[in-house]
Amino acid sequence: MSEDTATNGAETLAESGSGHGGDAAAAVGGSSHDIPGVAPSGLQIHPMEQFEPARLFGEGEIFWYTPTNVTLWMLLAVLSVALLMVMGTSGRAIIPSRAQSTAELAYGFVRKMVEDVAGKDALGFFPYIMTLFLFIVTANLLAILPMSFSSTSQIVVTAVMALAVFLTVTILGFVKNGMKFLGLFWVSSAPLALRPILAVIELISYFVRPVSHSVRLAGNIMAGHAVVKVFAGFAGVLGLGSVLPILAITSVLALELLVSFVQAYVFAILTCVYLKDALHPSH
């Protein structure tokens, strides 16, 4: 008896939420919300649908200059970083406010990372790495909010950042070291016969850097959010038993909180490693 009412409740919930396809209101049956290209059986909530960029205004094609939800959430991330930094630096109190200590914590954390990993002579690049880190971590954290859009899950966004790092590092390496930068590929500690083979491997691994650098961030964020959506689909189908998937969603979101910080950290720290390679190319 109670199960019957629960399923009915779930169905009315699904019907009431049919207009906007919200997070928790998963569709149970009902042909009105079939997403084109998805089989009608099985999950009615498509886990990858949330990553589709959409125009903010009007209908039609998306060009490179079109304001979409990707640009909106990137703008929000930039604005929140700016707000934190403006609020953090406006008081300059001896006993810091919450905003000031957060800003100081972020500054000290990134500065120590650059100093430890890339060395003291890379501190000129500290503002760049700080910008990257704060933007990524804020965009990731904003993406955890319900109904938000995860801009860092778009490979386009992360690829631009990774390519910028790649170009910066390559140009810096040649400017600082000239042709000695090619010593990065010539492993002088290896036996002479092995060196050409190692050079090919090093060359491949060098050019693959921007790929792994960008897809790591986008893939991690995308996978986490898709998992949340899959569990949301379960929650809509199970009726009273949906307590379990909701608990699972909560714990997955906790993991996402960790992942969004760790991935920003990894992105920044790999930038530091590449910078160190460019400044000191000897093996």
Partner: protein, 74 residues
Amino acid sequence: MEGQLAHIGAGLAAIGSGAAAIGVGNVAGSFLSGALRNPSAAAGQTATLFIGIAFAEALGIFAFLVALLLMFAV
């Protein structure tokens, strides 16, 4: 038929994610066993830990990329 084969290939490529998981687990486990022997030296090595994890994870990312290409580009 070819599309279905591409889906099978994408599923096979997902095995690579499991292999990357073994690699990441190795890095983290070795770090932990070293850190418990000498806890005072552990704090300075967390950056190395994350770099190691990132490099081990990179190969899993290529498997993921192959799966993505098979799903959407083939």
